[in-house]
């Protein structure tokens, strides 16, 4: 059983379902795939995974979400877990927020909606190698 996970955060359930399906097809059983609909829920999932001693490798987060926005969430993640690779997935290119995430969350990449499976696969593969 895998002890490494990829976490996706987006307020749209359908987006999460698509992401998970794509990741599972690309990477199979190598990783666990977890999803959350907002930052608050994401923290709960992170804590659960840590308590199960599962290492989180990558977090892919939407930017425009209710409550805490993507760049802020990824920054908080980066402060607590500097080793987690942060990726943003956004339907609205807010250059200022992306730049802020690049500097403060060490953002690895920003994927724009609508995205392709190849794009996602490439980003995740290169980030994990």
């Amino acid at each position: 059983m895998s002890d490494a996970a990829i976490l996706c955060v987006d307020d749209e359930a359908t987006i999460l379902k698509c992401l998970k399906e794509q990741l599972r097809r690309c990477f199979g059983n190598r990783y666990l795939y977890e999803v959350a609909q907002n930052a608050e829920e994401a923290w709960i999932v992170i804590d659960e995974l840590i308590s199960e001693q599962i290492k989180i490798l990558i977090i892919v987060s939407d930017w425009l979400m209710p409550g805490v926005r993507g760049d802020e969430f990824l920054t908080q993640v980066h402060q607590r877990f500097p080793k987690i690779v942060t990726v943003m997935l956004t339907g609205q290119a807010d250059e200022v927020a992306i730049e802020r995430a690049r500097q403060e969350a060490n953002l690895y990449a920003c994927i724009h909606k609508p995205w392709t499976e190849e794009e996602l696969q490439q980003v995740i593969s290169t980030a994990l190698n």
Binding site: M1, S2, D11, E12, A13, T14, I15, L16, K17, C18, L19, K20, E21, Q22, R25, N29, L32, Y33, E34, V35, A36, Q37, E41, I44, V45, E48, L64, P66, G67, T90, G91, Q92, D94, H112, K113, P114, W115, T116, E117
Partner: protein, 553 residues
Amino acid sequence: MFSHLKSIHPLKRFDRLRTNPSQTQSKPRLSTWSVLLAALTVAIVTATAIYQLNQMVERSNAMRVLLLRLQAQVSRLNSLEWEGIAKREIDANLITELAENESETQEVLEELKRVEWRDSRLRPLFELYQAYEIEIDRAIDLIAQQNITAAKAIDEDEIDQIYDKVYLEIAKLEDAYEARKQKARKIADFGTTSALILSAAMIGSLFRRFSNRIWAKNQALEVAFQDLQQTQSQLIQQEKMAALGQLIAGVAHEINNPLGTIKASADNTHKALQEALHELPVLYERLSDEEQASFFQLVTLALSSQPWVASAESRALKRQLTAQLQAHQVENARDIADWLMDMGVCEQFEFLLPLLKGSQGEWAIQLAYNLTCSFTNNQMILRAVDRSAKIVFALKNYARFDQTGQKQRVQVTDGLETVVEIYHNQLKHDIDLVRHYQPIPEIWGYPDELIQVWTNLIHNAIQAMQSKGKLTLAVHPLEHGVEVSITDTGAGVSPDLQQRIFDAFFTTKSAGEGSGLGLYISKKIVDKHQGRITVESQPGYTKFNVWLPVEVT
């Protein structure tokens, strides 16, 4: 669309405003002050000259009176002398009268000298009078000595001669003074007339100059006013554009989300079916009859189930399922549980045990997932298309530019719903949207402008609540019209600010967030519909009421 806004740069307009007055008003050759100074000088000079001339006229008059008095004195002296001759003596009475005459004559002479002391023309008269007086004195002396004949002789020869000369001299002087008086009067009249004409000309010129200046100022004011009106309508347009720009950013996100879903889902279906079609031929070889029965039961169940959405509950269920599978010695229990949850299968799983415990368990689950996921993906695609179509429809309604400028039949709730749709992504999470729509008649109005009013009010409400709270939209018929109430649970507007919120450029929002035109424009639009907009507010409750009549005259 923005090009006309850029065509007149604000700074250039201000330049035009600044340079305009100096263009319309030509630069005067003389300054107003120098004209005023010249006018003052001319007035003083003229007044002094006229005063001098009047003095001269008065002096001439005085001289004439004095000369007449002198003439009377001379004649009187002559009579007194004749009286002496007639009486043949100089009696006491005559002496007194002679003395009086003399002193009075001296007085007149002194007066003449005093008034015209510089006038040399008087000298012959004085000399003549002196000679006359000497001869009279001689005659009187002779009368006193009773030498009447000698006195008479003097009288007839010398005195009469001098007397005539004195008279002639007086007449001559009188004429001279009269002439001088006439001349002075003419000059004074001419001076007065000239001064009046000059003053009129100066006043006219100054008036012209001032009215030119006032006209130029009026022109400048009019230009400034027109510019202000233009600027105001541009600001209103810009406000609409800014609101639209803000919305477009949100809408881009709103459209890209369903697009992302559509693209990924279609792609996922495609790949899943490819994989499934590749695996299907070996299905019967790889699975036993019991496993096949279990497999097809899973497929049937998955087709009629909805996948679990990520939540605390679904995670708990997944953990429970994982534990149960582990209890049945299923390998990769966690992954299997994950697949099953995504197929919406978690409560009854016992029928799956033959399949899961077999060697092909994971392969079969994956195949079942690939076979069934296209249905879920299709549903998601259809929902995403519906969602996109709704957004596009709302945008079309919002951005519709009514070129006819004609009133139309408007169903007010349609406009409200358009705005709700546009703000969907801001409303869907933490704002509880409540609708109280009663059946209302259609009204005559301008639909796109009314949408701008609802946009402003709903946008303000969302901002006031900081995207968290309850937004109530109520619509009901009222007094031959309809009333729309938009209520939020935001911080509220204090009573003193309630008076001012409809003013242009009044805003309580921080710089860059609001232009201060939203409510001002809303009020203008409501006024145009002959309706009314009011606000009632206290902390945690703000209600905007907009009443619109059915018919606009």
